[in-house]
């Protein structure tokens, strides 16, 4: 999987309250959530973002609440991939589970500026900065996690496993 888009750059500890404030958690509709994505950290994000764009952030991206509405809002807003120096653990799992590609890449987090044009290659674990002509190495995640993302998310993966027996087949 390869994605190309403009970088939207943030610092460390971007928490899920600023990604999707609780006042919007009375809905679980992806488009409604997308309309308010990143509102409390960057209220112009929703106007700027183009399909395929990439969020780049420093350490501990997605910390705080377990709200899955956070990666859902990001994905529905058109973001193709999130690159961060590190991810909070619930956000990391949620992103994989809903099929939002993520890459752990401290190098990119330290160098990319907002507005840079990036290419992210999930199979190679590489992020290319097309604006600055640089390549950064990212961590690949374990094969079974790649399977989940490739299957389109956790439930598609679970469905494959439970097919062939049991009430839920």
């Amino acid at each position: 999987m390869i994605f190309e888009g403009t970088a939207h750059k943030y610092g460390r500890d971007v928490d899920t309250d600023v990604i999707i404030p609780a006042r919007y958690l009375n809905t679980h509709d992806p488009d409604e959530l997308a309309a308010n994505c990143m509102e409390d950290i960057d209220k112009d994000f929703v106007d700027r973002v183009q399909p395929g764009d990439i969020i780049v952030a420093e350490e501990n991206f997605g910390c705080g609440s377990s709200r899955e509405q956070a990666p859902v809002a990001i994905k529905a807003a058109g973001i193709s991939c999130v690159v961060a120096a590190s991810f909070a653990r619930i956000f990391y799992r949620n992103a994989i589970n809903i099929g939002l590609p993520i890459l752990v890449c401290p190098e990119a987090a330290g160098d990319v500026q907002g507005g840079d044009r990036l290419r992210a290659d999930l199979d190679e674990g590489e992020v290319t900065n097309l604006t600055r002509d640089k390549v950064y190495q990212a961590d690949r995640f374990p094969d079974f996690m790649q399977e989940i993302v490739a299957a389109g998310g956790l439930m598609a993966h679970v469905k494959k496993r439970t097919q062939g027996g049991g009430e839920n087949a």
Partner: protein, 423 residues
């Protein structure tokens, strides 16, 4: 003979049917409970049904609690709660808790004996780590993980490394479990325990009540922890007696178990803490903020909404009135806590002090309802997060503290400790 394991490893080994596991292993753990609430269950139910699942794996083990936006704060929240209620009925869930029967999920699950020592619990709420206080492995997950858990009765997990924290010494008169954990998060930072289990031990933990232990484990997530955990002991047994719905499985960490780090903390040097905006790790002694004017005080939540917390607040508020410029709201964490508080005369103390007393709800903790802040307002709160916009306007501020500091602050009108107002 199995090699030494710490308590988190032991619980996960048992849950996946293996002799032993090590940090870094990927396992499929059998679940004892899967939990969600009115704002996380809707997505979980949607994912569950979209994948063609028709029955939850065990209707006695899926727990749904309406606690965040209840009693329903608007039409959309009512529709979400309705979705959850109807799913609970369709599935014949034994443990569905709605208005009038509910409390804050992480207060009622232990209170009702639904979680016991040795359990593996996932919850679509980050403060699920609270149940580690019972010597269970409990961790927060998202709605899709919860949907998969409801379908299969299992969760895939990477066995975490564990940081061992040893708390020794005698605490000061008004120093509580909340101060211990705020101090600890101040040491680690908000990602200092990232992906790791936080195992709390030492003599000061042995002397800590169950309520204080729940408070500590509740905030493990604020240090980035996968789970918080305290080895069960006589205090835990006492708590479980006559309450636990299933047989507790008491595990202890072995001599020689591995830890990524061991951190020694002398509790006698811990002063009542406050976490300043906008991170739970931004901690200072409360006395350093004595000039700071406050607009609202909140006492409650899954962190500090238990009977002991209300007793602490009442101890300070008794016979006094809160400052005329401060709005003070108390949220008993469950119907039982509320009744107990009434029985002990605490509700009289609160009302006489000009404090508002609410039905159980998460309410303002996450900026839902029942105490939202306007631009420029400041709240001292016994809740667990103070990120930008957490309790209302992005230009409002939340200061986290324990019930003693919260109650003293309500009286003083500025951040205060009990000694200042009890003189």
């Amino acid at each position: 003979m199995a090699e030494p394991m710490n308590i988190t490893e032991k619980i996960l080994a048992r849950a996946c049917g293996q002799e032993s596991v090590h940090a870094g292993d990927f396992v499929n753990a059998r679940l004892d409970l899967a939990l969600a609430n009115d704002i996380t269950a809707p997505l979980a139910i949607k994912e569950f049904e979209a994948a063609g699942m028709t029955r939850v794996w065990d209707p006695e083990k899926v727990v749904l609690v309406c606690d965040h936006f209840v009693p329903n704060k608007d039409i959309k929240s009512a529709e979400q709660a309705k979705l959850v209620r109807e799913f609970a009925r369709r599935q014949g869930l034994t443990n569905f808790f709605d208005v009038g029967r509910m409390g804050i999920e992480h207060v009622i699950l232990p209170e009702k004996g639904l979680v016991v020592p040795g359990d593996v619990v996932i919850g679509a709420d980050s403060h699920t780590c609270t149940y580690g206080a019972l010597g269970a492995f409990a961790t927060g997950v998202g709605s899709t993980d919860l949907a998969a858990g409801m379908a299969t009765g299992e969760v895939w997990l990477r066995v975490p490394e564990t940081i061992r924290f040893n708390y020794e010494g005698e605490p000061g008169r008004y120093v509580t479990g909340k101060d211990y954990i705020l101090y600890t998060i101040g040491l680690t930072g908000v990602d200092g325990a990232l992906y790791e289990a936080m195992e709390f031990g030492g003599s000061a933990i042995r002397s800590l009540s169950m309520d204080g232990r729940f408070t500590m484990c509740n905030m493990a997530i604020e240090a980035g922890g996968k789970n918080g955990i305290i080895e069960p002991d006589a205090t835990t047994e006492e708590y479980c007696r006559g309450r636990a719905l299933r047989e507790p499985v008491m595990k202890k960490s072995d001599e020689g178990a591995s830890y990524s780090r061991v951190i020694e903390i002398d509790v006698s040097s811990i002063e009542p803490q406050v976490a300043k905006p906008h991170l739970p790790s931004n901690t200072v002694p409360a006395v350093e903020l004595s000039e700071l004017k406050i607009d609202q005080v909140v006492i409650g939540s899954c962190t500090n909404g238990r009977i002991e917390d209300l007793r602490m607040a009442a101890e300070v508020l008794k016979g006094r009135k809160v400052h005329p410029d401060v709005r003070t709201i108390v949220f008993p964490g469950s119907q039982l806590v509320y009744k107990q508080a009434m029985k002990e005369g605490l509700v009289d103390i609160f009302i006489d002090a000009e404090v508002a007393v609410s039905t159980p709800t998460c309410g303002p903790c996450l900026g839902g309802h029942m105490g939202i802040l306007a631009a420029g307002e400041r709240c001292v709160s016994t809740t667990n997060r103070n990120f930008v916009g957490r309790m209302g306007h992005t230009e409002s501020e939340v200061y986290l503290a324990g019930p003693y500091v919260a109650a003293a602050t309500a009286i003083a009108g500025t951040v205060a400790v009990p000694e200042e107002v009890l003189a």
